[in-house]
Amino acid sequence: MELELERVDEIVEKNKEEAQKKSPLIPVLQDIQKTYGWLPEEAMKRAARKLGVSLASLSGVASFYNEFRLKPLGENHIVVCTGTACHVRGAPLLVAELERNLDIKVGQVTEDQKFSLETARCVGSCAVAPVILVNGEFHGNMTKKKISDLITELE
């Protein structure tokens, strides 16, 4: 895949300008991820040069925070909330169902790149637990049945 690396330059410039007192480093990584969907190595190298920091320190930050992805996602990204409320209302069974249905483990992408599966610590919709997010959209009071319907729909 050919990346348009000029966009990295724009991102760095924009964030340097916007940051008043905070460091622009994490916002730059966030914007790179928003642009490409993940953090490609080439983009990180370019950003490190532009920011005047070493690639090692930029990678150090990227690998520390859960938000950053060092590999691309599937076309449809499914996140199962495994916060406390979701846990006691059966989230582990939903994870098992999704792993079985998609034939991947948490953190993996299906072979056809159609689905990726992750868990989240708490998305803060505890009252309608268990919750899953499909491409960023909240689905509350989830059941295994609703999950298979959703997946069929997306396929």
């Binding site: 940051a19 008043q20 007192k21 905070k22 460091s23 622009p24 480093l25 994490i26 916002p27 990584l29 966030q30 150090g60 930050v61 520390f64 925070y65 859960n66 938000e67 950053f68 495994t82 916060g83 406390t84 409320a85 846990h87 006691v88 209302r89 059966g90 069974l93 098992a96 169902e97 079985r100 989240a120 610590r121 708490c122 998305v123 803060g124 919709s125 505890c126 009252a127 309608v128 637990a129 919750v131 909240f138 689905h139 509350g140 009071n141 295994k144």
Partner: protein
């Protein structure tokens, strides 16, 4: 663009906003919080907007999309004011009828009214619903009334009057004194007296100073800070500005989780509006006080809720805590004096300045003043966000506000304080909820998550759940936390998988104490709490797992098995059809079905599907 350049201006705009509000005959307030979004409120709002336009009713009827109204379980929610009809679980198809019947004719629609789960009685108005009746909504007061994206709405509820009071009628010392006297303690978990914190930062002779609003709400099961930011962002901004004035800071930061997109959006809008109206920037309201605020989106690390880790994150580093002292009040962000308060804490500040310390002081217990917002979740009928006076008992919260346990089950415990807290058993439900009593029984107030657990919840599994969380979120800096929590998790894993050994309980206790004593920051110092408190109150469950190889609650998959009760089975074939691993065998209409335990993965499909309750979970391992 109008500018507020003096207290008089503000008064004027407040009057205008109130007059504009009073002109409108009917308000339809629709909850637009994340909880209701999960139940599909956007479609209802869209439908309502279209229908009002179609019927040419936009002049006399105003549709207000508010922040979280708290009763997330029943979402999407709507209140029609001033009549007061409260509707829940609304679908887009209901909209036409709501407008025609309730809005235009004043008739109520019984189907959409709230039904009390106990008495099965329908309740017409919000204020008569037990869930709301037993609350004391101070910080949340305006959440269901105002639109969070309109600063005029905040003006209409006397918004920014607290700031005016502080800037024009009080010295910095007087503001601090007022907050000290109010007895306000930090709502983010630590419970440190807010006024004291301000005083320490104020006393530092160094420039610049910073204020930070900590909205990195990471406790799983807690979402009150998000709902305040989503529903009333100007309240938090006003609280921050009062704090900044008191300690002498001119720059603030709001550190908010990127996982809360709606909160990020609303606080951004609020800052933009405050700037446009002259409430942020140079020489605010002509007082000589200048203040700017910047948003930092957290990148998903639980540890960044710890203040020194949070500051490292703003500085663009890995979010690792550092030893204290020096405390942030002396040396914080970029080495400068920094005051960090939690969202809910700051939300209380304008109320204290407006109504006085004595008013605030009159609510609560001796050492815990005011109200506290809890997210009441788990195995309880009414889940949602509640704001209750300090000193209320856990029993009142679970049964009066929460409406009891669903399905006629027994409450087993209430977990408070997230991964740093503990499980309080049902025998102790009559303790008053305040900072001191909760720590006495081995838990903490924390940021306000209350997870109700019933007899089907396994306490060892819960302890394991939290340990799994903390060891995963441990930043890895200090060995007691990095290695210790992992070792504890390994022991819990072996207990729940049937490999528990004699001495495991004692080992967990000893390890836990060492981790508490020797960890660098609050994460490690509290991580063993869920394990220690469950051992304290539910030792029998641990023993059943270790010695009987049985999970009494029927949760831990290696310590239970599924059994088809022969007398109940009607050979309907449904279970066999839903089994993903072909563990069930039988002929439709023939003999009772057979379930092969060695193939069964305990996914629960068959139990859900069986109409005769013929499949049971048996604690223990099959012979």
């Amino acid at each position: 663009m109008a500018k507020v350049s003096s207290p008089r201006d503000l008064e004027q705009y407040q009057k205008q906003a109130k007059a504009a509000r009073d002109k409108i005959e009917t308000f339809i307030t629709m909850c637009g919080g994340t909880g209701c979004e999960g139940s599909g409120c956007r479609e209802v709002i869209k439908e309502m907007d279209e229908k009002l336009a179609e019927k040419n009713l936009q002049e006399s009827i105003s549709l207000k999309v508010t922040g979280c109204q708290g009763f997330c379980e029943k979402g999407p929610l709507m209140v029609i004011r001033p009549a007061g009809n409260f509707y829940c679980n609304i679908q887009p198809d209901d909209v036409e009828e709501i407008i025609e019947k309730t809005v235009l004719k004043g008739e109520s629609i019984s189907r959409l009214e709230y039904q009390d789960p106990e008495t099965e009685e329908k309740i017409l108005k919000e204020e008569d619903i037990p869930f709301y009746q037993n609350q004391e909504r101070l910080v949340f007061k305006n959440n269901g009334y105002i639109s969070p994206t309109r600063i005029e709405d905040y003006f209409s509820v006397d918004g920014y009057s607290g700031l005016v009071e502080a800037l024009f009628n009080m010295s910095q010392e007087e503001v601090i004194e007022e907050v000290v006297n109010s007895g306000l303690r930090g709502r983010g978990g630590g419970g440190f007296p807010t006024g004291q914190k301000w005083k320490l930062t104020y006393q530092e002779d160094s420039d610049p100073k910073y204020v930070i609003c900590n909205s990195d709400e990471g406790d799983p099961g807690a979402y009150m800070d998000r709902s305040i930011l989503e529903g009333n962002p100007h309240l938090v901004l006003e609280g921050m500005m009062i704090g900044a004035y008191a300690i002498g800071a001119s720059q603030g930061f709001i550190y908010v989780r990127a996982e809360y997109p709606l909160a990020v959006k609303h606080i951004n809008i609020a800052i933009e509006q405050a700037r446009e109206w002259g409430l942020l920037g140079e020489n605010i309201l002509g007082s000589g006080f200048s203040f700017e605020v910047e948003i930092m989106e957290g990148a998903g690390a639980f540890i960044c809720g710890e203040e020194t880790a949070l500051m490292a994150s703003i500085e663009g580093k890995r979010g690792m805590p550092r030893p204290k002292p020096p405390f942030p009040a002396t040396s914080g962000l970029w080495g400068q004096p920094t005051n960090i308060n939690n969202v809910e804490t700051l939300g209380n500040v304008p109320l204290i300045i407006k109504n006085g310390a004595d008013w605030f002081n009159s609510i609560g217990t001796e050492n815990s003043k005011g109200s506290k917002i809890f997210s009441l979740v788990g195995k309880v009928n009414n889940t949602g966000l509640i704001e209750v006076p300090m000193g209320i008992t856990l029993r009142e919260i679970v049964f009066d506000v929460g409406g009891g346990i669903p399905g006629g089950k027994e409450v087993k415990a209430v977990q408070s304080g997230g991964p740093s807290g503990g499980c309080i058993p049902k025998d102790l439900l009559d303790i008053p909820v305040d900072f001191d009593r909760l720590s006495e029984v081995g838990s903490i107030m924390g940021s306000g998550g209350l997870v109700v657990m019933d007899e089907d919840t396994c306490m060892v599994d819960v302890a394991k759940f939290f340990l799994d969380f903390t060891q995963d979120e441990s930043c890895g800096e200090c060995p007691p936390c990095r290695i210790g929590t992992r070792r504890m998790l390994e022991i819990l894993n072996r207990i729940t998988s049937g490999e528990g050994q004699e001495g495991d309980i004692e080992l967990l206790e000893r390890l836990g104490e060492d981790i508490i004593d020797t960890s660098l920051c609050g994460l490690g110092q509290t991580a063993p709490n869920p394990v220690i408190s469950t051992i304290q109150y539910f030792k029998d469950e641990y023993e059943a797992h270790i010695y009987d190889k049985a999970c009494p609650a029927g949760v831990c998959q290696d310590l239970i098995y599924y059994n088809i009760i022969e007398e109940e089975c009607r050979a309907c074939d449904r279970c066999r059809r839903v089994c993903p691993v072909e563990a069930i065998e039988g002929e439709p209409g023939g003999d009772p079905y057979i379930l092969y335990d060695d193939i069964c993965i305990r996914c629960g499909n068959c139990i859900e599907e069986c109409p005769f309750s013929a499949i049971e979970i048996v604690p223990g391992q099959k012979e």
